[in-house]
C-alpha cells in the first residue's frame, strides 16, 4: 500500500488561465516525491461545514526543485468557487496522493494522449513523465473553441507534438477530437504493441475514443471523474460499473480502483 499524507499546505500562486479556469500552485514536497501521473489530491476547501465534502483534483504538474504541486480546475460548483477565491499565502488541507494512476506498458514508444476540455488536468503530468522516458507523445487537445484551449504553450514546451481540434473551427482541426483521432489512426499505422492511448474528458468523448481504440486494437487508459465522499476507498460512494476479466460486471471505486481504468474495464 502506498503511503498517504494529510497536510495543510500553502498556496504559492494562483492564475486564471481562461474564464473560470484556474491553475493553483501549492507547496508540498512529499506529494512531489510520491505522486504519480493520474493520481489525485482530495482537498478541503475551507473550515466551514458548507461546502462539506472534500474535492478531488488531479495532480496537474509537479516541480521537484521547488517542491510544488499544481492543480488545474474550472469553477463548476460551490467547492471550486470557494477555491477560486482563495488567496496566495492561505493554506489548504490536502490528502494524497490518491488512486491508481496511468501506467504505460514497458516498450511503449508512442503515446496518443487525447484531452477534451479540462481533461488536460491529469494528462499534462503524464505527458511530462512520458517525454522524460523518451516516449513520443502526440497530444490531441480538443475544445469548443479557441478561447477554451488550455495549456497549449506549456504542452509544446514539454516536447509533445500538439494537435488541436475545435468544435467551431476557430483553431486547428474543425470538428470533434474523436474525428481527429480517427484520421490520425487511419493515416499512420501505429504499431499496436508499442502504442498506447490515454484519454480524459467528457464521457461521450471518451466513449468515442474507446471505440476507436478497440477498432484499431490499441491499448487505452481513461481517467474517470465522479462525485466522491471519502476519497480513500472506504465509503463506496464513487463507484462505476466495470467489466471484469471473466466477462461479468461489477462496481469499482473511482477513488481507489481508479481513477484510471483500462479499456477492458470501462463501460461508457
Amino acid at each position: 500500500m502506498s503511503a498517504l499524507i494529510q497536510q495543510k499546505v500553502k498556496i504559492l500562486a494562483k492564475e486564471e488561465l481562461a474564464a473560470e479556469v484556474f491553475l493553483m500552485q501549492v507547496h508540498c514536497p512529499q506529494i512531489v516525491s510520491m505522486g504519480q501521473p493520474g493520481q489525485f489530491l482530495h482537498l478541503r476547501v475551507g473550515e466551514d461545514p458548507d461546502p462539506l465534502l472534500r474535492r478531488p483534483l488531479s495532480i496537474f504538474r509537479t516541480d521537484p526543485e521547488k517542491g510544488t504541486v499544481s492543480l488545474l480546475f474550472r469553477v463548476v460548483g460551490r467547492g471550486t468557487h470557494v477555491m477560486s477565491r482563495m488567496r496566495v499565502g492561505e493554506t489548504i488541507d490536502l490528502i494524497g496522493p490518491l488512486g491508481r494512476g496511468f501506467s504505460a506498458t514497458q516498450g511503449t514508444r508512442t503515446a496518443l494522449v487525447v484531452a477534451g476540455g479540462l481533461g488536460v488536468a491529469p494528462l499534462f503530468f503524464l505527458t511530462e513523465s512520458l517525454v522524460q522516458k523518451g516516449v513520443c507523445v502526440r497530444f490531441l487537445l480538443g475544445a469548443q473553441s479557441k478561447k477554451q484551449l488550455l495549456c497549449c504553450t506549456m504542452l509544446r514546451s514539454l516536447g509533445a507534438d500538439l494537435l488541436i481540434s475545435t468544435d467551431d473551427g476557430s483553431a486547428g482541426f474543425h470538428g470533434l477530437i474523436t474525428q481527429l483521432l480517427e484520421e490520425l489512426l487511419a493515416k499512420e499505422s501505429f504499431d499496436h504493441s508499442r502504442t498506447m492511448i490515454f484519454s480524459t474528458g467528457p464521457e461521450a468523448m471518451m466513449a468515442g475514443v474507446a471505440s476507436l481504440a478497440r477498432r484499431f486494437s490499441i491499448p487505452a487508459q481513461f481517467s474517470l471523474e465522479r462525485r466522491m465522499a471519502c476519497g480513500v476507498g472506504a465509503c463506496l460512494g464513487c463507484v462505476v460499473l466495470c467489466r471484469t476479466r471473466s466477462g461479468g460486471r461489477e462496481y469499482r471505486r473511482v477513488c481507489a480502483d481508479g481513477p484510471v481504468f483500462d479499456l477492458e474495464e470501462v463501460v461508457f
Binding site: 462539506l52 465522479r226 463507484v239
Partner: protein
C-alpha cells in the same frame, strides 16, 4: 531517561480518564467511528492510527455479498450529504476470511455491523461470526434507509424490532447494540423494544431520509431518488433523539449524527450519550476522531473533571439549576 518524572506524573494525574463502560464493554475512550464511513478499518490507516480510536464499527455485513445501488450514490447538500450506497459489502464469509484478520490485529474495540433482508439472514450472519475472536460487539442495523427489504423496514415498528432483536439475541451471547432509525414516530418506543429483547445498548441515529434534485437536468441527485442524509445538518435532530431515549429507556446510548468536533461530542454526552460515533466527519477530516478525543480531554480539564463519565447526562435544566458545578 533524561528528565525527572515529576512533571510527567502531574500531567498523568491531571489527564482525564476518557474510558467509558458500555454495558460489559470497556472502551478506552468514547469515540467510535460509524459503520459505513470507515470501510474495513484499513482504508484510513496511513492517515490515522486506528488503535487510537475508542472503537471501530465496520461496514454492514450481510449473509451474501451485495453489490449495492447503482450510481450516483452520494450527493452533497447544505452542511450535509446524501448517500444511497445500499449496503454494498463482501458478505460474511469473505469478511471473516479477508477483512477480519486485520481488525483482529487492532488494539481497539471492533464492533461488526450486521444487516439483512430477513430475520433469518441476521441470525445466520450472527451465527457465522460466533466463535470468531477479536469482535467485541455486534451492532444490529435495523435502520438502513437504502434497501428495499430489511433494514429500516424491520426497525420502524416496535413489535417487528422486538421480534428481530429477540431472534438475534437467542443466536449469540455477544454484546448487542441496536442501531436505530430516526425515521420513526417514536424512537423511544423502538429503543424500549430493543431493551425488552435483551439488547445491551442502542446507537442512534442512522441517516434521515432525504433527497435533492438537480434543477438544471430535473433529475434526482441519487439513483434511488431518496437516500440517507448525514453530516452537521442532522446534528440537532440526532441530539434531541438521544436525549429523549436517554430519558425514557434504561440502556446505554451511543450518540451519532453530524458530530464534527469535541464540542458536538460534549453536547451528545451532556444529553445522555455514554459514547459517540463519528461518521461523515471522517470524510471531511480523517483526523476528526483524534481531534475529538483530544478535545474531550481538554473539555474535562476545563471543567475540572477526572473522568469523562461524570459528564454523561449532565445537561442542566432550569428546575435543577442548583446542581451546576
Amino acid at each position: 531517561m533524561s528528565r525527572p518524572t515529576s512533571v510527567g506524573y502531574v500531567e498523568e494525574i491531571l489527564k482525564a480518564d476518557l474510558s467509558v463502560q458500555l454495558a460489559s464493554l470497556r472502551l478506552k475512550n468514547p469515540v467510535l467511528v460509524a459503520s459505513g464511513t470507515y470501510g474495513w478499518g484499513q482504508e484510513y490507516r496511513d492517515l490515522l492510527d486506528p488503535n487510537l480510536l475508542g472503537g471501530l464499527i465496520t461496514k454492514a455485513v450481510t449473509l451474501h455479498p451485495r453489490e449495492g445501488n447503482p450510481p450516483p450514490r452520494v450527493a452533497e447538500t447544505r452542511c450535509g450529504m446524501l448517500n444511497a450506497i445500499g449496503l454494498a459489502n463482501v458478505g460474511v464469509d469473505v469478511f471473516v476470511r479477508e477483512k477480519l484478520p486485520f481488525l483482529q490485529s487492532l488494539k481497539t474495540a471492533v464492533i461488526v455491523n450486521v444487516a439483512g433482508s430477513t430475520t433469518e439472514e441476521y441470525v445466520q450472519v450472527v451465527k457465522k461470526l460466533e466463535g470468531q475472536p477479536g469482535i467485541e460487539a455486534l451492532e444490529i442495523n435495523i435502520s438502513c434507509p437504502n434497501v428495499k427489504e430489511g433494514g429500516m423496514a424491520l426497525g420502524s415498528d416496535p413489535r417487528e424490532a422486538f421480534r428481530l432483536l429477540s431472534a438475534v439475541r437467542k443466536a449469540t451471547k455477544r454484546l448487542l447494540i441496536a442501531k436505530l432509525s430516526p425515521n420513526v414516530t417514536d424512537i423511544a418506543a423502538i429503543a424500549q423494544s430493543a431493551a425488552d429483547a435483551g439488547v445491551e445498548a442502542v446507537s442512534l441515529v442512522n441517516t434521515l431520509l432525504g433527497m435533492a434534485i438537480d434543477v438544471q437536468t430535473h433529475r434526482p441527485l441519487l439513483s434511488t431518488v431518496v437516500g440517507g442524509l448525514s453530516g452537521p445538518a442532522i446534528k440537532p435532530v440526532a441530539l434531541a433523539m438521544v436525549w429523549k431515549v436517554a430519558q425514557k429507556v434504561s440502556l446505554p446510548v451511543i450518540g451519532v449524527g453530524g458530530i464534527m468536533t469535541a464540542e458536538d461530542a460534549v453536547e451528545f454526552i451532556l444529553a445522555g450519550a455514554c459514547a459517540v460515533q463519528v461518521g461523515t466527519a471522517n470524510f471531511v477530516d480523517p483526523h476528526a476522531p483524534l481531534n475529538i478525543i483530544q478535545g474531550l480531554e481538554k473539555a474535562c480539564a476545563q471543567r475540572g473533571l477526572r473522568e469523562i463519565r461524570e459528564l454523561v447526562g449532565k445537561m442542566v435544566l432550569e428546575n435543577d439549576a442548583h446542581e451546576i458545578r
